[in-house]
Symmetry: D2
Subunit: 333 residues, 4 copies
């Protein structure tokens, strides 16, 4: 039997998940809800499913799972509501911008016994997954130092910045999760520094567009993260891990990989220019993993707890920027 | 309105096309036919369509197009039949192993006014397409020399060899088409040499497993082709074109592109091990192009004529191998 | 007229410079001095020059320049002595492990009018130089973020560690200089963190073997540095700079660049395993630059001041490690 | 004791060998001869050696070896003369443009017992050497197919073409030698085709500028060679060998290996633009090998016989072009 899904929120990321569900042989898209009814209808038409309200989805016993793609401020409430309704829940990151609210929400989820998976899509990228697999296989010995470069092609509008929680909770949070995915030991301390180099409006909105972070673990492993809201050549996403016996890395991906040689040298095309094309396979694998959680009772991964810790790292990084010092994660969590 | 397709032949390549049709928003799979009814049913179940006979499909006025994936020996007859039935036809290469039969078949198609597209999937690979686009854009000036390497991961069973028409008509034929796609001028002469290095059984069956070819055009452009039925490291598919101002090339593709560094060096994973995964995107784009042919009256490309010429190049190459000399294409066509 | 050089110190790095002098058409090696007379004789024999004492070299008016390759503790004294003797001076980094001593020494040099160049060889690597040239040419717009990875193939013996001044003054100091070379704006603040992951003996000696650093400039540019005394795959030396319009990077170099493909994938050989082979061209270019300083009155670069600032960055980094906070360079300089 | 060398011919390639000798610790340059006395003097001055006549060098018993870099038409006579004089001989390729003359010359050398090495410098390139070493080590199993691409950055003047013996004896001859070096089995048959695509003047002079060759061995191994006198992006020199268990290749070399990323993509600099910089290390290793031949009685490799066979392959290729057929090497040798 295929599992029946409802997608809450018919925006950009809602569409991505709807498509992944439609393409998954074990899942079917039963309903789409959005307070903007036209958006919901457009998405429902594309996939031949119903437009519903959140109330209707909550009440529909044939729906197995919900995909929460609504604005961040609604995430925690919806998670709690659908946890109580007995549905499996996939929620886009972050669960909430407040650590306290996240903790409370996870408490409700735990009490309900509901399955909650959080959307850190990069863990499902086949290349990054292969990096982790190489580490698990012992290909590089014990991991010692991890380096992550993550640069967006361009800065989002300031209106987005204002509701995003800032670059650390919106963008770096993916790298915090990736760091944990690769280090295989919890970061205990964070140092971060940030500046505004790309767009002065971002600074006026109280945020940064350029961030450097160092994470440290108990045993002395390091992870450095470099973020920018600017990359003329495309969506720059690289990870590398160094261990006692070697290193492994995943380089950037491009949609077309040709090389033209001429008088001025050898040129390859730019990278993907958008996270949705870059991580197309990852989104499909993410839904497949969620299906596996529901069907085979696999442990949700990334879990709500993973979402909580990544947010705590973001908060600790913000504190570090403000205070110009190494901050213990325990100070914020 | 979506176009309705029938797939004839539910084998390996039939499945590939059925999936591409199912995923195409402008196409729907209406029926599958195969003399092996179980295979037809399995494929029909996967995509929720009907199992039909060829007679039923021929008579069904709601079906717009057929995809011919049956054994080669049936291709020309089916093309003629469905051309007369007024359906658009996509036929897997080759149209037939006999040049005379292909010519006759194309005559029937022409008389009927039917649209016929032939399945040289590599023209639709995004990387190879980008190579051609770079040439069209003048990035390398006038094309002068083209080099194609095409090596299969392993040899097929001798039973396959026996009905395939031999390596030149089965495997090199793709490279002949690619050479024409890139040279943009017809090859007029062919030299080929071949040997059995991989599997002595192939030699006993009268075929070769290792082939080198040189094509020449009227104005003196060259294309060299290197084929083998053996490549331990995966499905080796490379093209490069050299022109008056530079060169362009497409290197191999791999499913996962990480690199592990250790005491013995830097290692990347093997290439794709199968043409279906290597050319997954190409098959989807091929169906999209066929939809465009039907909907927007675009000229079919590759056309039946393209299929004919590629087969003629294969026949000329075989003649060259036997006679140890440069053979004019006009000797066989 | 070729310039006459004396090399002080016939150890590993003395040999490198002696060879570079011998190969430079504008320079000749006149004398070698070392308190270990056998070492001096061996090197003198190789290049057909005299064995001298430091006193003799100081008194020899035909000698234009000295290359100081003696132990660090003797550098400042020798610089002062030969500055007063009116010779051009090339000194291996660092000038001294004490900032105060370096300052005093540079005062003496300044008063003498002598030319002093400090041995940060990496500035002369053709690949790194090309990175800087691309920045100077405006290829990436304004530099915003720089990333440096520098990993040694293996840890030195603890005896070396004890006189080296520690990893920051010995190894990271090269990266501090490279950061300044690429940022083109002075770092004003430093954060560093360090641990012992490679060799516990290094920790017992009071040093670290794994270091992560972030530098910040007044205008908000960042540089991250990642150092380790371990890299199974060879001498890992990479730099990249990101600017407002793009990025430029220099990847690792290997002595032999072939690729072997087989069942397990594609393998390239390890990197250089030693700084002397990795930077062979750099050492030659460094001596050529020094010749240019003497002959054409070019400004010495890297200068004594460059040596001073790099050391100050190392001291600030050490202070940051101890105090777990961002340290202003002005606190130590 | 260092060996004493004389260089005959102070042109472009004579300078390369003179420099390699000067840098070799086991060799010294004693004399330079050239009928153009100024050229001889300039080169002698650079290296601080004598200007001599060929007669003087022949008579000088302290000279161990000669490096013949004079015009091709003088090679065979000089080889015979110095063979009789008891000197070791290194001769630039080709020994002569006539197979008969080469055979006669090798007969004289054999009778004299002199050591003769022929200048196929590419065998000494560290990357190509590593390809051969990988084959010898069994890394790819039995070699089956070899592919060589060799393209010059630009066409030489027609005056050069006229005395060169044509592209096959001048340029392709290097690839014939490389094919033998990698195939490890003698080619028995040759097919070649050629055209004029780059410079019509070359055609008027009776030569070609674009060549494609296929070599076959007794056991069915193939080698394809692609030559052009045009490559806008630099000196294109690639080899790859495919075997029963895998493949090995050497890609192009560039003087500076950075990569700049921007809006239009990722660009690496052009390749070396000249054979002397591309093969700088090869020329040094070649002289070292010749020193080894003299000192340690190593077998000269490439030998005079290697020069003979490469020339025979060129002649067979020319015959193939003229007659449009596969030519047996035995037809010309």
């Amino acid at each position: 039997m295929t599992l029946k899904f409802a997608v809450l929120g018919a925006g950009r990321i809602g569409k991505v998940h709807a498509r992944a569900i439609a393409a998954n042989p074990d899942a079917s898209l039963a309903a789409v809800a959005d307070s903007a009814v036209e958006a919901a209808e457009a998405l429902a038409n594309t996939h031949g499913c119903a437009v519903s309200t959140i109330d209707e989805i909550e009440a529909d016993n044939t729906i197995d799972a919900v995909i929460i793609c609504t604005p961040t401020s609604t995430h925690a409430d919806l998670i709690e509501r659908f946890a109580k309704a007995g549905k499996a829940i996939f929620c886009e990151k972050p669960v909430d911008l407040s650590l306290a609210r996240v903790k409370a929400c996870l408490g409700v989820v735990k009490a309900s016994g509901a399955k909650l998976m959080v959307g850190f899509n990069r863990r499902f990228d086949p290349h990054f997954r292969a990096v982790r697999q190489a580490i698990d296989d012992g290909a590089i010995g014990d991991v010692e130092m991890v380096q992550i470069v993550s640069r967006d092609p361009g800065a989002p509008p300031v209106s987005y910045i204002q509701t995003s929680g800032g670059i650390l909770r919106d963008m770096t949070i993916h790298d915090f999760d990736m760091a944990r995915f690769l280090l295989r030991e919890e970061p205990t301390h964070v140092f971060a520094t940030a500046s505004v180099l790309v767009d002065a409006e971002i600074g006026k909105a109280g945020d940064f567009d350029s961030v450097s972070v160092i994470l440290m673990t108990e045993s002395g492993k390091h992870c450095s993260i470099s973020n920018s809201r600017r990359a003329a050549y495309g969506y720059d996403q690289r990870i590398e891990a160094h261990g006692s016996n070697g290193a492994v890395r995943a380089e950037n991906q491009r949609p077309v990989s040709i090389e033209v040689a001429g008088r001025l040298g050898y040129t390859r095309p730019p990278l993907h220019d958008f996270f949705m094309t870059r991580y197309l396979d990852a989104y499909a694998a993410e839904i497949a993993a969620f299906v596996d959680v529901i069907r085979n009772d696999a442990a949700p991964s990334p879990s709500g707890e993973d979402g909580l810790i990544a947010l705590a790292l973001a908060d600790a990084a913000l504190k570090s920027i403000k205070e110009g010092r190494l901050v213990a994660v325990s100070e914020v969590l």
